[in-house]
Point group: C2
Chain length 302, copies 2
Amino acid sequence: MKLSILGCYSATPRTLNNTTSQVLEIGNHMFLIDCGEGTQVQLRKHKIKFNRIKHIFISHLHGDHFFGLVGLISTFRLLTRETDLHIHGPKGIKEIITLQMKLADSWTNYNLIFHELTSKKSELIFEDNKVEVFTIPLNHRIYTNGFLFKEKEKDRKLNISAVEDANINIAYYRKLVQGFDVVNEDGETIKNEKVTWPGLKPKSYAFCSDTMYKKDIVPIIENTDVLYHESTFLDKHADLAVKTKHSTAKEAAYIAKQAKVGKLLLGHYSTRYDGLNAFKEEALEVFDNVELCEDGKTFNFD
Amino acid sequence: MKLSILGCYSATPRTLNNTTSQVLEIGNHMFLIDCGEGTQVQLRKHKIKFNRIKHIFISHLHGDHFFGLVGLISTFRLLTRETDLHIHGPKGIKEIITLQMKLADSWTNYNLIFHELTSKKSELIFEDNKVEVFTIPLNHRIYTNGFLFKEKEKDRKLNISAVEDANINIAYYRKLVQGFDVVNEDGETIKNEKVTWPGLKPKSYAFCSDTMYKKDIVPIIENTDVLYHESTFLDKHADLAVKTKHSTAKEAAYIAKQAKVGKLLLGHYSTRYDGLNAFKEEALEVFDNVELCEDGKTFNFD
């Protein structure tokens, strides 16, 4: 599982600060999460093979989270993309994009498939044999979802010498990595755990932006390996956080602590502060595994 | 008259290439012409005091000419702008912007005034005591206008020693710079040209992008000081120019020559070419005063 931060600042793009966008590589997928203005340039700058993106998840319809989407869709068209592109986002996103395509008389050659979200409860919105994606209903000024990305249980690993000693036909190896007991060439039943090792632990990533402190997301994201939680403000501006329905670094850390996540990533910083260290220090008072997102930073979680 | 090129490439923004946007300073105005994705960052990067912009002119609704508009409007809101902002552009632009403001529940505190264009004939779309702006109907895949910016006749300059020798009361100086004859303290009529010098020559700038070769714009832009004409392709790709309704550098030069403009600026380059010199060389075969636009370049025409 690998996360690339394309932008992690709030409000407006600036010369050195990009607004929210992330690429998550998980279970053979390359998911794009939010798409602020300039995301396509960030993708190029960081040499991400963005034609691999098949699913884009948009948390909400504030500009700093989606003004780059229409440009990316348009660029895919100019690059003669043929692969389907799925857009998961709040109701209204289809109208915004299709209106602009209609007025530009520029329809995509690839299938553009919108999955509009309206539910205020967590729901499964994508699933294949490796990964599940759930919404995390957040509390912001407009309808907003975070997203929980979870790998499914992974195949067990064959203990090759044990398998051979047990005289198991190769045709049963697939059953073994799936966790089943099998019958060997001598007609004996072989217990799975005698000839396999546990598979890699499935990874999970929760993306929570934008939101005010919302304790009832804790059960949804409990025990997640990595939590990105917005921290627009420091505690000294807690009043602004309430007023604008954002969170402080301390509040993000309280959520991480209660949800017993493995690691907390902070981001969506207001540009009113000089530097980011104060965000980390504040969160570390509450929770002990905190890292700062920065534009262009990549995290490997394997 | 000063022109700042924020972006001059076609199709999509890239790490080092920005799509169309220009700032024209003329007659105390700062006009923004087209607004590709990332324009607000280009404005910051080039330290342009963009709060001075009161009028934005959008040629057409292809993304590389206006995908940055909604973000700029949103940023003006966040910067607590109060001054009216006028948007001149094709019909449909109001619907695109207001739909996004509605879905984001983010209305501007300043007045956002749309002037939607539908005419296929050149028309006066802005006028004050210093400047006039006319549309230049172009021929592209969708409804497109160029824009002609013209300073009005400027005040004549007082020849102070001549004015004093002629014994003219100071109350008449305003009449003099406006070109009128006046009566002096001795009751004699003083001919204007005896006590004034001609004012500065009014400047003009024509912006023509995107368009295929369209000879009937020549009468509209005749004798313009500076003509920006798109040159997406070189002559060797003239077939592509016809197919996509763009121009070659040579065609841009033919327009400049027929319109007897002072200077031709080229831009809207396809990124298929290595370097820009071939565009200039091709145009110079037809017209002798050619310059290349480049992102971040500023032209002073005084």
